[in-house]
């Protein structure tokens, strides 16, 4: 098999990515950490509000003005999981990411069972948080998902499991298919290595070696090799993204 490194892989800096502005609510009792997040989100073009205790956070969240919520678990006055419970009870289904120092397997399970949509343990890389938030906020409703994903001349049929580029069929292993499916589902959005591990492999730990990078190289050599316009991009310091260079396929929020 040819080494995937024989041609230069397309790499983008994180600031070259086009973003649709989102309104984010951060409920976090550590003011420093909250300030840092508000500033960082503003830098990339989002609008962020913050609350430093559970009651204030719930009151703001109940106004339902936000596209996505970032909730700490251990908060004064009202803990994070009970905020989510109160929102879900009032049928406010805004996506929630739980950000917590409790990062063990069972903590995560507890958080997701309480109604959280994603779970990220502290300390975290901002790029990881940003990628997850953007995927959450643009989550499309489940049942009427498309059966065929198209990015440029790449097509993936989710029913027949066929992948073609420029009309020519590409043979993929089952896991490679699921990897590409996940990347194309979130086309135009940064997808991190841990997101791939969680969603394609269903593992919530971090292997110490670059196992995911090698899988991506393999996939890239199958879908991009020999085509003038690369579709699978590496986002430096963050992860990967499938997109047509023209940016025409970024889905509307």
């Amino acid at each position: 098999m040819p080494s995937p490194d024989t041609w230069t892989s397309p790499t983008l800096a994180a600031d070259q990515i086009v973003r649709m502005a989102m309104r984010i609510l951060i409920i976090e009792d550590d003011r420093d950490a909250a300030d840092y997040l508000v500033k960082a989100f503003r830098e990339v073009g989002h609008v962020a509000d913050m609350a430093t205790d559970g009651e204030e956070g719930l009151a703001l969240a109940l106004e339902a003005r936000h596209d996505v919520l970032i909730v700490d678990r251990m908060l004064p006055k009202r803990d994070g999981l009970s905020i989510i419970g109160a929102l879900r009870e009032k049928a406010i289904n805004v996506p929630v990411l739980i950000l917590s120092a409790l990062g063990q397997v069972d903590d995560r399970v507890k958080g997701l069972r309480a109604g959280g949509d994603d779970y990220l343990a502290k300390p975290y890389a901002f790029s990881e948080l940003l990628a997850r938030i953007e995927v959450l906020a643009r989550r499309r409703p489940g049942p009427n998902e498309e059966t065929v994903y198209r990015i440029g001349d790449l097509e993936l049929d989710r029913l027949s499991h066929e992948v073609t580029r420029g009309g020519a069929e590409i043979a993929l292993q089952p896991r490679e298919f699921r990897l590409l499916e996940y990347l194309m589902k979130h086309a135009g959005q940064v997808v991190t290595r841990t997101m791939l591990l969680e969603n394609v492999w269903d593992y919530h730990f971090d292997p110490q070696t670059n196992v995911i990078d090698v899988h991506i190289s393999r996939l890239r050599s199958k879908i991009d090799k020999g085509f003038s316009r690369p579709l699978l991009h590496t986002i430096r310091g963050a992860g990967y993204m499938v997109r047509d260079a023209k940016g025409a396929n970024i889905p509307a929020p």
Partner: protein
């Protein structure tokens, strides 16, 4: 609290006191019953003799008339003893006998009656007697009876003996209670004293065992085993915190040094940027070490058992293999998979996967880079069932671990000298061992000639349940 107060408050004393009370009540009831039956027996004997004498005297009267009866009664009345006699006319006039005065109406009653009477010579002393009056022909009355002094004396003897014995029971019981309580208190006080020195920091202290095999010895034995376990845990904790200090401070020092060096020597933006990137990488490494530590602690506390489910060990092996296959290939290594049919195991799928992934990381990290033969470049990962156990193993042909170091290699933080130059927290094998222990299994390290076979032994679900 006074010494007596302390004694009285003990469970042993309260128990003795309760027993004493119950026993005294029982003894009292027994004595009352005894006194009562004795009295009844004496009464019935008296009644029988009175009855017999009346029958005899009535016969004499019938055969020989009143004169003879008066004569006999007169003779018998003069004999010393407790017998009472009286013969009267129909109008109540005494003809013979040794009874002074009777309660009015006595002579009109029939059957056995208890009366108070006076002897003729002692008018002011009233006595008790059991008598029977018999009507003779021609209106004469015959009274025969027995003084009850004897019966009363017997009754008094029994009552007095009863009082004394109950008093004795109470005194002896109290004394015994105090004695037992003092013994118990002494042992409890000894235990308390030892416990206090242990609480004060002497973790080597043990509770005294008298060697009698009683309940205190059993309690002391059990507590001593518990103390030994606590001491071992405390010792382990101290060792772990030393190791944590070492293995977290080393990268922290490195991180700080790099930052300082950058401040001192960096002249352009690129150099500062490099230093920052390096800092983030170092802190990511620290976070990984920290997470691994927390995971080991969580696994060793057994807390995660709540989330256990049944899964197939062969599936985990195939999934991990599929994840690592491209990486192995990129490193010029062949991955061989050997799996039995389904091996149901009860546990946490995620943790077992992570343990296996650690073993794969190690196998790939330590694999021999330059090949000496085809077999030297292969990693064999297998899941097989044997004797109720699922054996999940990763075999490589790297440098292996010397036999003497294998036990140490699974301890927290141990990094063998040979691996110091390779990246890693040194927690990989400890984590695998902790996960295996959490599942009531173990991690075995065996020589692969050359290389290492690391095997996670897990109990099969069907066997674990039985």
């Amino acid at each position: 609290m006074t010494a007596l107060g302390k004694l009285v408050r003990t469970t042993a004393f309260k128990l003795s006191f309760a027993y004493l009370l119950v026993f005294a009540l029982f003894a009292g009831a027994l004595l009352v019953y005894f006194a009562w039956t004795t009295r009844a027996l004496v009464t019935s004997q008296i009644a029988q003799t009175v009855e017999a004498e009346i029958t005899g005297l009535a016969e004499q009267y019938r055969q020989a008339g009143i004169r003879r009866l008066v004569l006999i009664v007169d003779t018998r009345s003069r004999r010393p003893g407790s017998s009472l006699y009286l013969v009267t006319t129909a109008t109540g006039e005494a003809l013979a006998g040794n009874v002074g005065s009777l309660p009015p109406g006595t002579l009109e009653r029939t059957g056995l009656i208890e009366i108070t009477y006076h002897r003729p010579d002692e008018a002011d002393e009233s006595r008790e007697a059991l008598v029977r009056v018999f009507r003779l022909e021609n209106g004469f009355r015959l009274l025969v009876g027995r003084d009850l002094e004897e019966r009363e004396r017997l009754h008094n003897i029994i009552t007095t003996a009863g009082h004394w014995s109950i008093a004795l029971v109470i005194v002896l019981g109290l004394a015994g209670g105090f004695f037992i309580t003092r013994r118990v208190l002494k042992r409890v006080d000894a235990m308390t004293a030892t416990t206090q020195t242990i609480m004060a920091g002497n973790f080597g202290g043990r509770l005294p065992v008298a060697g009698t095999g009683d309940e205190f010895d059993r309690l002391a034995d059990n507590l001593n085993v518990m103390l030994a376990r606590i001491e071992a845990l405390m010792h382990g904790l101290a060792e772990v915190s030393d190791n944590i200090a070492h293995d977290l401070k080393t990268p922290l020092t490195r991180l700080r040094n790099h930052a300082e060096e950058a401040l001192r020597t960096a002249t352009n933006e690129a150099a500062y940027r490099d230093a920052l990137v390096n800092t983030i990488e170092e802190s990511d490494g620290l976070i990984r070490t920290f997470n691994a530590l927390l995971m080991i602690a969580r696994a060793e506390s057994g807390h995660t058992r709540e989330t256990f489910e049944t899964f197939d060990a062969t599936e985990i092996v195939r999934d991990i293999c599929e994840l690592y296959e491209p990486l192995a290939e990129e490193n010029g290594l062949r991955l061989k998979v050997i799996t039995d049919t389904a091996l149901p195991v009860r546990g946490n799928r995620e943790l077992v996967s992570q343990a296996l992934s650690n073993l794969m990381d190690n196998a790939i990290k330590y694999a021999v880079p330059a090949s000496t033969g085809d077999n030297a470049r292969a990693i064999t990962i297998s899941a097989t069932g044997r004797e109720g156990k699922a054996l999940v193993s990763v075999a490589d042909s790297g440098p292996g671990i010397p036999a003497g170091d294998r036990v140490r290699a699974t301890e927290r933080f141990v990094r063998l000298e040979s691996s110091r130059t390779k990246p890693g927290s040194g927690l990989g094998l400890s984590l695998v061992a902790a996960v295996a222990r959490l599942h009531d299994g173990e991690l075995q390290l065996v020589d692969n000639n050359p290389g290492l076979v690391a095997t996670i032994v897990l109990p099969l679900a069907a066997h674990a349940e039985s």
